[in-house]
């Protein structure tokens, strides 16, 4: 029996039950994104330059201030601690006009949280949310942006989901509009937010370029599970992940991505759910003595739902959930075994449809997390193959010079080593990653030998891949 046939009845039941419990927005049927562009495409290169260098006449921040090229297009407290005090991330600490109600510097530094006025700017003291910075990899397969048919996006049921609650963008709500909202929210010189004075709005051409670049980052296609993984623990984790009786993860994260399983009544899109994360006890912000207003999720007023993120890139892009509630991938998996999730609208709907709540023992939580760690490392390898391949050929990628690509490659190798080491996974692959790291650093130090060293590093990376998956 085909895999889809086996779980289809359960999927249909779950979809109905979950739908009744927590409203979700379906994707636009037949949504079309702009076609993938070649890595040498000038529009993508322009978008990359804008993303990391353009301040739009504002306070000095760029998109890359929070979505760091050298840190998986995100930030976390450990990374934030390495930044100089005059980094634009900290403008609220040194620009008097932004000292109040622009950021919460304490929670930014301690928890990596960024202030957002998603429900309006009418009461800055009390109306705000504090959210983690999501990476922006794999946008092409993680949102339902439909920029070629923008009018369709104006109806409530046919919109792309951007941002943690899926409603992070004004207007068309696609990635182009998201940039306008982000500039207005985060780039302004003052809380007056005067376009043309405190910042300038991106031009149409700049929005096209920014969108093209963002769609080019990371995975361009979904994984096809099951993968022939070589770790018995990760293999078990994959089985639990895809089990309609145990992990049940695939219902919302089909192929470990950001989309619901196909064949269900909601289509194959990126959905919102109320999983109860906001009700977790002992949120780190509260423990730090700085409780924050409740985050009501999608809409104004919110309906309590948040957008489903991709899990392929999760293990090295924590902390996890919209409010950075937990720091490790194991804790994130364990959330779904807890009372908070199982008493939530999404958890209750899932339980009714599948005969009970999600119950996982510690070994099963570890196995699912191991699976997520291994596919994260495989994702790192895919990125490294592109990066080191470009360096070996002495080519630019999306306008990025090989010298800069080498730096990012070292970061990706470090990530792969970290996500495996933290759980004691694949020490054999880690040895190869370490060799690749040394060779890549040498490639940085010796430009004349860069191409040959990149070729050797790529070989080591490919050996590591052979340890992880058949």
């Amino acid at each position: 029996m085909k895999k889809v046939d086996m779980w289809m009845p359960a999927l249909l039941a779950v979809s109905l039950a979950v739908l009744a419990a927590c409203p979700s927005t379906p994707p636009p049927a037949g949504a079309k994104l702009p076609p993938p562009r070649d890595v040498g495409d000038p529009l993508v290169a322009k978008g990359r330059e804008l993303f990391f260098k353009e301040t739009f006449g504002g306070n000095g921040r760029t998109c890359g201030t929070c979505h760091r090229a050298e840190h998986n297009l995100t930030i976390d407290p450990a990374f934030i601690a390495t930044l100089p005090k005059d980094d634009p991330l900290f403008v609220a600490e040194f620009v008097p006009e932004l000292a109040r109600n622009f950021e919460n510097p304490k929670l930014m530094r301690e928890l990596g949280l960024i202030l957002e006025n998603l429900d309006g700017f009418s009461d800055l003291d009390r109306k705000f949310t504090l959210r983690g910075v999501p990476h922006v990899f794999a946008q092409r397969v993680s949102i339902d942006s439909n920029p070629q048919d923008r009018f369709e996006c104006f109806s409530a049921t046919r919109c792309p989901h951007t941002g943690w609650s899926g409603d992070g963008a004004p207007g068309t709500r696609d990635l182009r509009a998201f940039a306008v909202g982000a500039v207005t929210q985060h780039f302004t010189k003052s809380l007056n937010r005067r376009a043309g004075v405190d910042f300038r709005l991106p031009t149409e051409a700049e929005l096209d370029a920014l969108e093209a670049y963002q769609l080019s980052e990371g995975r361009q296609v979904e994984l096809q599970l099951p993968l022939p993984l070589k770790s018995a623990v990760a293999l078990r984790g994959q089985a639990l992940f895809d089990s309609p009786a145990k992990g049940k993860c695939f219902f919302c994260h089909f192929n470990a991505g950001a989309n619901a399983a196909p064949g269900g009544p909601l289509g194959e899109g990126n959905l919102n759910f109320d999983t109860g994360v906001e009700k977790l006890p002992d949120h780190p912000a509260a423990l730090a003595g700085t409780p924050t207003p409740p985050d009501d999720g999608l809409g104004n007023p919110g309906n309590g739902t948040f957008n489903t993120p991709s899990l392929v890139e999760a293990a090295d892009t924590g902390p996890f959930f919209h409010n950075n509630a937990v720091a490790t991938i194991e804790a994130a998996v364990d959330f779904y075994d807890g009372d908070t999730f199982n008493n939530s609208p999404a958890g209750q709907g899932l339980a009714r449809a599948t005969g009970g709540p999600i119950r996982l023992d510690a070994t099963e939580v570890s196995a699912i997390a191991a699976f997520l760690r291994v596919i994260n490392a495989l994702s790192n390898i895919n990125e490294l193959q592109g990066m080191l391949g470009a360096v070996e050929r002495n080519e630019r990628t999306n306008g990025e010079h090989p010298e800069d690509i080498v730096h990012r490659a070292v970061n990706d190798i470090d990530d792969a080593i970290r996500v495996l080491n933290e759980a004691g996974l694949h020490p054999d692959a880690v040895v190869d990653f370490r060799e690749a790291r040394e060779l890549t650093i040498e490639a940085d130090r010796h430009p004349a030998q860069r191409m040959d060293l990149a070729r050797r590093a790529l070989k080591a990376v490919n050996r590591a891949r052979g340890h992880l998956s058949g």
């Binding site: 409203p23 923008r150 919109c159 004004p170 909202g181 043309g196 009544p265």
Partner: protein
């Protein structure tokens, strides 16, 4: 197939009352400058008449007039960008004949009468 269609119907029906996506930053975008929206899903023109009762006003767009209904949930924003002032939240009372206005339509355009998702009105004070 029947079951699937039924489920799809239920799903789409349930979505009717969903809140719209947040519009917070839209308030700060000057009239006519909202990418992908201005001129495509909105009308930009001059207020011709304002009904003293009800929540309706008409907008002159070139040679045509568009009747606008403002639901209670639709925000009215004051666009003060011409005077380099900060945009602010306003109300229906700020809508006066002769002022430049942009109305995001909930209906497909062009149309003779529309329902506003939001309204921006240019003021100078």
């Amino acid at each position: 197939m029947i079951a699937r269609n039924l489920l799809l119907f239920v799903a789409l029906s349930a979505l009717g009352g969903l809140a719209q996506a947040q519009q917070a930053t839209e308030m700060y975008i000057p009239i006519g400058a909202s990418p992908g929206v201005s001129g495509k899903a909105s009308v930009v023109g001059t207020i011709a008449t304002v009904e003293t009762e009800g929540r309706r006003f008409s907008v002159k767009v070139g040679d045509t007039a568009v009747m606008v209904t403002i639901p209670e949930t639709a925000p009215v924003w004051l666009d003060r960008s011409r005077g380099k002032g900060p945009n602010r939240a306003g109300s229906q009372a700020d809508l006066k004949p002769g002022l430049t206005v942009e109305v995001k339509s909930r209906e497909t355009l062009p149309a003779e009468s529309i329902t506003a998702e939001w309204v921006k009105v240019a003021v100078t004070e």
